[in-house]
């Protein structure tokens, strides 16, 4: 299975994950600072900033785009409960 590395820069920890893993599945276990609310892409609590590897996450859905807009997301912000990891990336809490 293809692998990818995700680095949580707020705690300086990197995890080697199977491609397709959602960020949420990794971040809580590793103790990153991203906070979760509904866990289903609705509340916007888990907004994260993608420092590198923006294109190595799955495309945001129409619903995620809407939630990001509502939460005044800046460029390269994503919802950690929605984004799946396809390749190496570096993220931190927004």
């Amino acid at each position: 299975m293809a692998k990818a590395k995700i680095t949580f820069t707020d705690i300086d920890q990197t995890v080697n994950v199977p491609a397709g893993t959602r960020v949420i599945e990794v971040s809580e276990k590793i103790g990153a600072g991203i906070i979760y609310g509904c866990r289903e892409g609705d509340c916007g609590t888990c907004m994260m900033h993608v420092e590198e590897g923006w294109n190595n996450l799955t495309e945001p859905s129409v619903l995620e785009e809407k939630v990001l807009r509502e939460n005044m997301a800046s460029r390269h912000d994503r919802l950690a409960c929605q984004a799946q990891i396809l390749g190496d990336c570096r993220v931190k809490p927004a």
Binding site: D12, Q13, V15, K29, I30, G31, T45, E70
Partner: protein, 431 residues
């Protein structure tokens, strides 16, 4: 429209009028002295207050936060004692929880010209709260740190302070007068109609209790917020619950910093990974396992603490857990379950940030032995990692089995060390 100087705040509060904090700055909140349980989880021995404020500038009036819906009449009566609705230009919502926004829909109806100001993380929550129809969308402005609203000679400046204690929270600073409208930060559930901290009863325990239950899970965000607040020239802190802090307000910043400061290990300058082992034992078998687990973990470089839950209260143990890197729970199995003190402790951790902590379970059992797996499931539910599979030993541990316990402790301590910064961890090892 200021209050007569001879009237005490208590008299004014009882009369249902606004209380002057400074000329042109009034408390227009509500008293709820009968409340004994707030949000189910918080107890209060003498009720609470829902604090809302009114600031008058030369170019209009701002209302900062409102009150719980059932206290709206009290809020509007106080507001009307110092301003007319058509003067209100600005409504600031520092926090959208219903105890501060219950009177908002009616306030918006009475002052339709007023513009809402909320934090940049609040729009979705505001829409969920007010449920606007599609043909009548909400109008509001979002604020980030440093954004300002002018009321003429007075200026409101916003501080983005998310997760204190919801994503939407912010503080609002009245620049010229040094007043921080802090939202729930620096608040407490204490109802005292004398309203100012230099006149109220001793509420220190209520202040600490409120912090422990509301702000403690968000310590990192408290520290971030303090970095924004501490440089301000502060004369008064005006929170949304409890007394207005006008006498030496910086004391309360210092207290927050103390309560939010780093772990015990960092305080004593010891960076060794820390493991706390809790156990219960009916015949001494799980206790012997616990001692062997500790011995193994120490060999592998962890600083270990061992506690018999039979001999302590829950709260100090919660404090220990908060500052530990890893936890291990030892329990016998009785009637197919772990024993109650273990569950009492594991159900008391809602106020502690457990993200990234390691957990492990072990125990001796007579004939079924479900406790270990059940404890592991609970720890995973609390977002802890369980890197080493639980260890169950039937009845009395042999020397070989005690060696297994030591190896279990060594493996757990190694997992803490391998979690050190900068190293790449495999997803499968996260447990």
């Amino acid at each position: 429209m200021s209050n007569p100087p001879s009237a005490s705040p208590t008299d004014i509060a009882r009369r249902g009028e606004a209380i002057e904090i400074l000329p042109g700055v009034h408390w227009i909140g509500a008293l709820d002295p009968a409340l004994r349980a707030f949000d189910i989880i918080l107890r209060t021995a003498n009720g609470t207050t829902y604090n809302a404020y009114l600031v008058r500038g030369s170019h209009g009036v701002a209302v900062i936060d409102t009150v719980k819906a059932e206290f709206a009449d009290e809020f509007f009566a106080r507001l009307e004692s110092v301003a007319d609705y058509d003067e209100i230009e600005v409504i600031v919502l520092n926090h959208l929880e219903p105890d501060h926004t219950g009177a908002l829909p009616e306030l918006m109806r009475r002052a339709p010209q007023a513009r809402l100001h909320i934090s940049s993380r609040a729009p979705a929550m505001l829409k969920a709260l007010l449920k606007p129809r599609e043909e009548d969308p909400l109008e509001y402005r979002t604020a980030d740190t440093g954004d300002e609203v002018s009321l003429g000679e007075r200026t409101l400046r916003f501080l983005h302070t998310p997760f204190l204690h919801w994503p939407d929270t912010q503080c609002t600073y009245l620049v010229e007068d040094g007043v921080l409208f802090s939202g729930d930060v620096f608040g407490c559930h204490h109802c005292d109609s004398r309203m100012f901290n230099d006149r109220c009863a001793d509420f220190r325990f209520a202040f600490d209790y409120y912090y422990a239950h509301i702000m403690r899970p968000f310590k990192t965000h408290v520290m971030d917020a303090l970095k924004l607040i501490e440089p301000l020239a502060l004369k008064i802190i005006a929170p949304t619950h409890g007394p207005i802090l006008r006498d030496r307000p910086r004391r309360y910043l210092t207290r927050y910093r103390e309560l939010s400061s780093a772990s015990f290990a960092e305080r004593i300058g010891n960076e060794d990974p820390t493991l706390v082992v809790f156990y219960m034992s009916s015949y001494g078998n799980t206790a012997r396992m616990a001692e062997a687990v500790c011995a193994g973990a120490e060999e592998a470089g962890a600083r270990v603490s061992l506690y018999d839950l039979e001999g302590g209260e829950i709260q100090p143990f919660v404090d220990l857990i908060e500052t530990a890197d890893a936890l291990a729970f030892g329990s016998p199995t009785i009637n197919g379950d772990a024993v109650k003190p273990i569950w009492d402790l594991l159900s008391s951790l809602a106020v502690v940030d457990l993200k990234g902590k390691l957990g492990a379970a072990f125990g001796s059992y007579g004939w079924t032995g479900e406790a270990v797996r059940m404890i592991e499931d609970r720890m995973r539910g609390l977002k802890m990692r369980v890197p080493v599979a639980g260890l169950r030993i039937k009845l009395i541990p042999t020397d070989e089995e005690l060696e297994e316990c030591r190896e279990f402790g060594r493996a757990l301590a190694s997992a803490i060390v391998s979690g050190e910064k900068g190293r790449v961890i495999d997803f499968a090892d996260l447990g």
